[in-house]
């Protein structure tokens, strides 16, 4: 037998090919848990082909099919379908559940039955051990109960499946299933005791020592506390508990030892007392079991010192009583604890007792006595060796006897040649000779001392250092300890060592010491202090620099995503790289090659133009900003300023000119009058020669049909509505009312009703024969103004609302002439200039004194902050919602001035007196024009003042109210074009761009209130800029002045007035570098 076979696995024991996997028995759940486990398996989806119905527990109902069936107590109709499932399908579903539950239980139980060792089949040693430990009957009963339960569960499943075949409703199926699972659980629950017992057995079995009953074994036995376990601990590494009291060892312990190159197992047994077998307890019985069934060498321990508490005769008596168990086993009697009492110290009676043990041996096998002392470890090895030898002999003999050895013997060849007595080493003669020559001994070479020995010799560890060169074989042994040059980078380091370096260093140190001695300590502090001060200053400077740099970096406006500096590569570099590796680099530049444009705005463009004429031609012409400015520097300053303001805009995310902008999200004209017809009301005021007759609100839908009826009868619409109002929309009564009042006054057919004067939403207007609602102009009642609504087909009036410019017209009045007499003003020249499309410049409009007064007044207001945006003493156009007519327009324009309105007709807010005077003068001029040419001019109620704050403030090119072009035209000629042809006609009339047909601003009068030293045709004045540039006779639609025939720059000289048609003339205020006041007055015309 080879040692390999002996390697006993501690988890399992191999005996005659059968493996006892006591440790691998699976845990047995308690019955209660088992009941839960099995239905839990349903949840795991182990149930094959289940519906999408949640599986159920035995005790628990679930939602599934049943949920479809409202009342579970009422069975479904015979053979009916539940939730669309056939009854057969439902049946099979529930059958499967029952069967699944049964198989699950079955598997569990089968596993238990299979895994637990069957006492009749296992080795008698284990069988007896089990009997001793767990009681064979109890064990068998438990397993039998499990088996019985398994059968019961099977029976239940069978029975219920059979019954389920006749179940005719889901409810029945489900209840049967429930009952089946319940009954199964009940029967399993009854297993409680058996299962818990088996679980205990399982745990104990797993912890049993893995004793291999077939292998070489030594069994230690004897009375308690005689030193069995001590012996065990000496010979093996089992580490059994040893205590100085009896029955320390309560069960079998196994230890292993190697002897004769094979593994042996040593079994330590609990002590045995000398009494009949029946009286032995289970602890003793385990020892007896081991002795009875294991073919092993027995080591019977006797404590001759009697320290164990049992006298020698008792121990011998035990030997005699259990002697039959030692039959056919090698027996050694260990006389233990000789350190306490020697064998020689025994009395003759005692010796005789011991001898009696020897005599009683069986079969003539000798009994061996060994004196041992476990405390001193004396005689232990001898006993062990003897025991092993005896057993091995016995086993070999047995094997030979049973023929088991034959199979080995046939394969072995055993020679009879005996080995020679002596075999000295053979050393060749040549070697011997050579040795002789070297003076070495001729026999075996004595080995050199080991390095360790040398170390011990030469002072031991820590003192001794290994001589690495000792064994070097060199031409001359003297070279061994020569210094080896250190070479670095091919140079000998020694060559570079200055031999005087130490001396030089010493000198330097000396010098330094002298210097140190010279300079005093205080001096040192001064130097350090100075240094620190300098450092502090430098630190501050540096920190400021950093701060500045940071500020500049943050202040920079970035439009694009920042590219890391390293990643930024020039196109040329990429090109070069690509060409170098042989790729086509033509596409790298792409668009940038063809459209290389300089980003700088002023100087570079000119430079480019000189270089490439063709490129210049293709360039779209940009308006030069330097034109009109006194110098290039000024232009650059302006540009810088512009950029600065833009930067702030961009940073704050403000609206810029490039942003999409909708002038008015809800323009009033588009929303007014579009009220749904049933909610529409019309305020009707009946007037008779200017005095109000009656005033009421007419609800349109209720009266509509009646009104139509009445008007078709020939009544006037207003009368009809009035009648309807009084009669509460009753047609018959209204008719009676009318006929009684007017004696049935019929209007002749074809004759149209006269122009009526109405007031709609506080606006005086009238309805024309064409059915248009026409605004009545102030003082011009007979002449209709612009159309503000119309009569609809059903006779009702549709008021389309007032726009800002309509208000301007409506609130206008005839210019008053009586205010001032003398004017240096020529109406004819005005007319001529206007017809040319140029502005009329009226110098000497006011005297220097008047201008000075007005300027002082304005300046004072400005200083108080009353002429800036947001102030209240004028109506700040940009801030005030109500009065700000052009507000929307202004927002989109590049306009830097602050502008506001005064009521120049005596309302509030009123301008200062000197300023009012100037406004009135302008009004007089308008009156003159009206009277001279019969122009229907109306002065607006409001006058505007604009302040350019002299920081490059400008007003870009514009026409007044230009944006109205984009709005719906509303002209006296008609309303919206009804057909495409009409629209075409309209377009032809108005010109290509559509024109500004609703622009009633006929003339714009500007009066500059500036001191002559600020503006004028001198160096300072030119530098201050602020001129009014007029693009004379530009084409309509041109907003940049490219088509201008002539440019006219007008200085904003104090006392100068300018009259021009602002709606047609493109004009611009150039950047002003001095504060610039300008009064504006508008004159409107209804046509």
């Amino acid at each position: 037998m080879r040692p390999k076979d002996l390697e006993a696995d501690f988890c399992s024991v191999v005996i005659a090919g059968i493996m006892y996997k006591f440790k691998e028995i699976q845990t047995i759940p308690p019955a209660k848990q088992l009941v839960d486990i099995v239905p839990w398996l349903f949840r795991q989806g182990s149930l094959p082909g289940s519906f999408s119905v949640r599986p159920a527990n035995a005790e628990l109902s679930h939602k599934g099919f049943v949920s479809a069936h409202k009342n579970p107590n009422v069975p479904a109709p015979l053979g009916g379908h539940c939730k669309g499932f056939k009854i057969t399908r439902i049946r099979s579903f529930y059958m499967r559940k029952v069967k699944f539950c049964q198989t699950s239980y079955n598997e569990k139980f089968s596993k238990i039955l299979e895994e637990f060792p069957k006492i009749d089949d296992i080795h008698p040693f284990y069988a007896d051990l089990c009997n001793v430990l767990y009681d064979r009957d109890h064990y068998k009963l438990a397993l039998g109960q499990v088996n019985a339960c398994k059968k019961v569960v099977d029976g239940i499943a069978k029975e219920y499946v059979k019954m389920m075949k006749f179940a005719d409703s889901l409810y029945k199926c489900k209840m049967l299933k429930r009952a089946a699972l319940g009954r199964m659980s009940t029967s399993v629950k009854k297993l409680q005791g058996a299962l818990s017992f088996l679980e205990e057995v399982r745990q104990h079995l797993g912890r049993l020592p893995a004793i291999n009953p077939a292998t070489r074994t030594l069994i230690l036995t004897g009375y308690p506390n005689v030193g069995k376990s001590s012996f065990m601990n000496i010979v093996t590494n089992a580490n059994v508990d040893v205590q100085p009291y009896a029955f320390t060892t309560k069960s079998l312990f196994i230890g292993h030892l190697d002897h004769n190159y094979v593994k042996w197992q040593v079994i330590d047994t609990p002590g045995i007392l000398d009494h009949p077998l029946e009286d032995r307890n289970s602890i003793e019985m385990t020892a007896i079991t081991a002795l009875a069934h294991l073919p092993a060498a027995v080591l019977f321990f006797v404590d001759i010192s009697e320290h164990c508490g049992f006298s020698l005769p008792t121990q011998v008596a035990l030997y005699h009583s259990i002697k039959p168990l030692f039959r056919n086993r090698p027996l050694l009697i260990i006389l233990n604890k000789t350190d306490l009492r020697k064998l020689s110290e025994l009395s003759p009676e005692e010796k005789q007792l011991l001898d009696s043990m020897a005599e009683a041996a069986y079969d003539g096998w000798p009994v061996h006595f060994f004196e041992t002392s476990c405390a001193k470890k004396e005689g232990v090895d001898a006993a062990l060796t003897k025991g092993c030898e005896l057993l091995l002999d016995r086993r070999v003999e047995q094997k030979v006897k049973t023929g088991k050895a034959d199979q080995f013997r046939s394969r072995l060849h055993i020679t009879n040649v005996s080995p020679p007595a002596s075999r000295p080493p053979c050393i060749p003669n040549s070697v011997l000779r050579q040795r002789e020559a070297f003076g070495l001994p001729s026999g075996f070479l004595l080995e050199e001392p080991l390095e360790r020995e040398r170390m011990e010799e030469l002072g031991g560890a820590g003192v001794y250092s290994v001589d690495l060169w000792r064994r070097a074989i060199l031409e001359d042994p003297n070279w061994k300890y020569d210094i080896v040059p250190e070479i670095m980078d091919g140079h000998n380091i020694v060559d570079y060592v200055d031999p005087d370096i130490d001396r030089k260093l010493a000198e330097l140190e000396k010098e330094e010491a002298l210097l140190m001695a010279e300079s005093s300590l205080g001096n040192d502090d001064e130097v350090i202090g100075e240094f620190q001060n300098t450092q502090k200053v430098l630190d501050e400077v540096h920190s400021r620099m950093r701060q500045k740099r940071l500020e500049r970096r943050i202040g920079k406006s970035r439009t694009g995503v920042p590219t890391p500096r390293r990643a930024r590569k020039k196109a040329e570099e990429v090109e070069e790289k690509l060409t170098s590796i042989g790729l086509d680099a033509s596409k790298v530049r792409g668009r940038s090659a063809s459209k290389k444009r300089s980003s700088s705005l002023l100087g570079k463009r000119k430079h480019d133009a000189g270089e490439d004429e063709a490129a210049t031609r293709t360039l779209s012409r940009a308006r030069s900003r330097s034109v009109g400015l006194p110098s290039e520097e000024a232009a650059q300053t302006v540009e810088k300023k512009r950029r600065k303001t833009m930067r702030l805009h961009q940073k704050k995310g403000h609206k810029g000119e490039a942003d999409r902008w909708i002038p008015d999200l809800k323009p009033k004209h588009l929303y007014s009058g579009k009220v749904p017809p049933d909610q529409m009301t019309v305020a009707v005021v009946l007037l008779d020669k200017g005095s109000t007759i009656s005033q009421f609100t007419l609800q349109i839908p209720a009266a509509r049909s009646a009104l139509e009826e009445l008007t078709s009868m020939g009544f006037e619409a207003c009368e009809a509505t009035e009648a309807l109002e009084t009669c509460q929309d009753d047609l018959v009564e209204a008719l009676a009312f009318l006929s009684q009042r007017h004696k049935k006054r019929r209007v002749e057919g074809g004759q149209k009703p006269a122009l009526e004067t109405l007031e709609v939403e506080g606006i005086k207007c009238s309805v024309t024969a064409e059915g248009e609602l026409v605004m009545l102009l102030p003082g011009d009642e007979l002449r209709g103004g612009p159309v503000i609504g119309h009569r609809k087909a059903d006779g009702s009036l549709l008021f389309e609302g007032m726009d800002d410019w309509l208000w301007e017209l409506y609130e206008g009045h005839r210019p008053r002439e009586e205010l001032e007499g003398d004017l240096h003003f020529d109406p004819a020249a005005v007319r001529a200039a206007l017809e040319e499309g140029a502005p009329y410049v009226w110098d000497g409009f006011a005297s220097a004194a008047e201008i000075q007064q007005a300027h002082a007044a304005l300046e004072e207001m400005f200083q108080r902050g009353q002429l800036s945006r947001g102030s209240g003493l004028w109506v700040d156009e940009c801030n005030e919602g109500g009065h700000a007519r052009n507000r929307k327009a202004l927002e989109g324009q590049q306009r830097d001035d602050a502008c506001g309105f005064w009521d120049v007709q005596g309302g509030a807010p009123a301008p200062p007196a000197p300023v009012l005077k100037l406004f009135h003068r302008l009004e007089v001029a308008a009156a003159r024009l009206r009277s001279s040419f019969g122009w229907p001019l109306l002065c607006s109620r409001l006058g505007m003042a604009a302040v350019y704050d002299g920081q490059g403030a400008c007003y870009e090119q514009h026409r007044d109210n230009e944006w109205q072009r984009h709005l719906r035209s509303r002209t006296p000629q008609g309303l919206l074009p009804k057909t495409a042809a009409e629209a075409q006609q309209r377009r032809l009339e108005l010109g290509e761009s559509g024109g500004a047909p609703m622009n009633f601003r006929e003339l714009t009068m500007l009066a500059y209130v500036n001191m002559p030293e600020d503006f004028g045709d001198h160096a300072v004045g030119r530098a201050n800029g602020g001129r009014l540039r007029c693009y004379v006779a530009t084409k309509r639609g041109d907003l940049r002045g490219d088509t201008a025939q002539q440019l006219q720059d007008l200085e904003p000289l104090g006392g100068r007035a300018v009259i021009f048609r602002s709606k047609d003339l493109l004009h611009e205020v150039l950047p002003s570098f001095c504060r610039r006041y300008c009064l504006t007055f508008w004159v409107c015309t209804p046509h």
Binding site: M163, A167, D168, D241
Partner: protein
């Protein structure tokens, strides 16, 4: 080599780890939180099982606490008046209770007499024929519908032989034939699994009685010889009536109450 009580052994030899007590204390202290967390987490059937278990645990705990509290509570007054105690001045008088006993006996007798014809379930829900029978179509084209399959549990005697198919109107499937019933003795409060002798009466209809159909409320005759009941005269009773108390076709078994 771990063998036998190696864990105990190890503890004996090397002791516990130094912070064992602390860890145990903490573990114990954390236990309620852990349980609470589990309770919050669990869903479905696991949760149901868990709560049920926990409920029972808590109930036992409360009971134990209460029991312990009772110990501390004041003992009842030992001087309590026992029933039947009489004041001293009445002690010498003779107590007459016979009338009372007599009337009790009469009452008992009456009760017995009246109860003889009373059954535990006096009324049952009527069943339609649809529920009771399933129509079995016969004939070559499955066009005839005169055969019926009994859908309910039935009792068929030992010596029953099926009629030829032509004459067999009612079929009692063998899966639904029951031979035994659980019979509870109301006085003994015990249940026995006894053989059915016959179906005495099915309250639904005489037809069902004839067919041996067993539904709720049916009176069946069971073999009680095992019980060893004797009549007043000393004869052994072999069969007794019992009333079915459940729906056998739903529960899969017959539960009945012995009529005594």
């Amino acid at each position: 080599m771990p063998q036998n009580e190696y864990i105990k052994e190890s503890i004996k030899r090397f002791g516990r780890r130094f912070d064992h007590e602390e860890r145990m204390r903490k573990k114990k202290a954390r236990e309620p939180k852990k349980i609470a967390k589990t309770a919050r987490k669990l869903r479905g059937i696991k949760a149901k099982l868990f709560t049920k278990k926990r409920y029972s645990e808590k109930a036992t705990m409360k009971k134990t606490i209460k029991a312990h509290q009772e110990k501390d509570a004041k003992a009842k007054d030992a001087e309590e008046v026992k029933p039947g105690a009489v004041p001293a001045y009445l002690l010498d008088r003779e107590q007459v209770r016979r009338t009372k006993v007599l009337s009790n006996m009469i009452k008992q007798k009456r009760k017995e007499k009246a109860g003889k014809w009373q059954v535990p379930i006096p009324k049952v829900k009527a069943m339609t024929e649809d529920e009771m029978f399933k129509i079995l179509r016969s004939g070559k084209r499955k066009k005839k519908a005169w055969k019926r399959i009994v859908n309910k549990v039935s009792f068929v005697g030992d010596n029953f032989t099926r009629k030829p198919p032509k004459f067999e109107r009612y079929i009692r499937p063998s899966a639904l034939r029951f031979k035994k019933a659980h019979v509870t003795h109301p006085e003994l409060k015990m249940t026995f699994n006894l053989e059915i002798v016959s179906v005495k009466k099915n309250p639904q209809s005489a037809l069902y009685t004839n067919l041996g159909v067993i539904t709720k409320g049916t009176i069946i005759e069971v073999n009680v010889s095992e019980l060893g009941l004797v009549t007043q005269t000393g004869k052994v009773i072999f069969a007794k009536y019992a009333q079915v108390t459940n729906n056998p076709d739903i529960d899969g078994c017959i539960n009945s109450l012995l009529l005594v």
